[in-house]
Subunit: 201 residues, 2 copies
DNA sequence: GTGCCAGTGTGACTTTATCACTGAACTGAG
DNA sequence: CTCAGTTCAGTGATAAAGTCACACTGGCAC
């Protein structure tokens, strides 16, 4: 079902209009929502599921910048939509998701006619900037073993992920993750197996 | 003089209105435009000069996130303005600057009534997200010696800066900067003196 | 001058990144 | 099932970067 809180805020008539011209996309896990360099043809509103946004540097290394979940707005798309530049990052569907595509014309109309819609967009932008600022600090100054433990503790055991994927989450090298995990296993905090991490206690 | 391209785009009548309720601030070097935790009472438009935005992590380390110059918009303020949260970063005036303060009410009105104003705001947001994404990649993956040289080569010799300040620019430790600079001096690329770096050639 | 202090230099050590390689675990074809 | 190919994980060696501790020094205030 098409349900997103930013659409709820619209006046009844505008909402009706909107619901007609919006198409809902079903996104299976692994699907690429957009790639680096691609152009943007609409603003995706996340209805359900989960999508990660990551970027690959010139060095070839990648890092996950943030995630989008139900009721999020793909803020990154707005910039591409307005300036016509291509995406700098890529978005990969993690959990079975649904997203509503708002075409450029409708976006302009909603921005023009609804203060609540504008507020939603601005808030979303603000949160995203905040996320990225925190990430910069994290990457620049925090210790990798702390960040790894924190990341693990935010999940529910067992965690299905390869060391390489975990390295991309943290923006480091696979070997570093392997060594730190091995250290945690020695301390009895985790149990390791291929593509899987079990948290202990 | 109050001149900012986003104001130029306004329809004549709105522009007249705007110019009346906007107050211009003179900002001497060293002045703090806003501090972390402070609340925001308007959107600053940069008319001239230069301001750096930096953030201090829990660790106490700081890093420069980006700079604002003439004709820029302090995008970071919009989020604070709309959500009411405090700033996460601080803004420090570097060169003698002027900024126009757009109060909340006027901002809302401009967003409501001018598509060009909205476009300007969105573009500014997009650029800022882009900047931060590039910074994340830079901090996570690039070598410090390269980043240092690049930073130096973007300035005009002599550069008046302490090693500590340069460390904040790059998000690293003072000792690292000192050692890398010493290495550059040994290679004959720079000449070092207290609070000053001369580029050679 | 003398004392003070921000700024700088450097050794010792830890943490993280990179490179190179090994072996183990899974997959699919036959 | 067996074998070959591929992905994933472990690890040593080495280099780069971060941390801690402390010595030195240039310039300003008195």
């Amino acid at each position: 079902m098409l349900h997103h809180s930013i659409l709820e805020t619209l006046p009844r008539e505008l909402q009706k209009d909107a619901l007609e011209s919006i198409q809902v996309m079903r996104l299976p896990p692994g699907k690429i929502l957009f790639r680096a360099g691609e152009h943007c043809h609409g603003l995706p509103l996340m209805l359900s599921g989960g999508v990660k946004v990551q970027m690959t540097g010139i060095s070839g290394n990648s890092i996950v910048l943030y995630r989008m979940g139900a009721d999020d707005i793909c803020t990154l798309s707005i910039g591409c939509l307005m300036t016509g530049y291509g995406y700098r990052a890529e978005a990969i569907v993690e959990d079975e998701s649904e997203a509503a595509m708002i075409p450029r014309g409708l976006f302009d109309r909603l921005m023009d006619q609804s203060a609540a819609f504008r507020l939603g967009i601005m808030e979303s932008y603000g949160r995203r900037l905040d996320d990225l600022m925190l990430l910069v600090e994290e990457v620049a100054f925090r210790r990798m073993d702390e960040r790894l433990e924190e990341w693990l503790n935010l999940r529910r055991s067992p965690i299905h992920i390869t060391h390489q994927e975990l390295a991309v989450e943290l923006g480091t090298a696979r070997e570093v993750v392997s060594r730190l995990l091995k250290e945690l296993e020695r301390k009895g905090r985790v149990r390791l197996s291929r593509g899987r991490i079990d948290l202990i206690e």
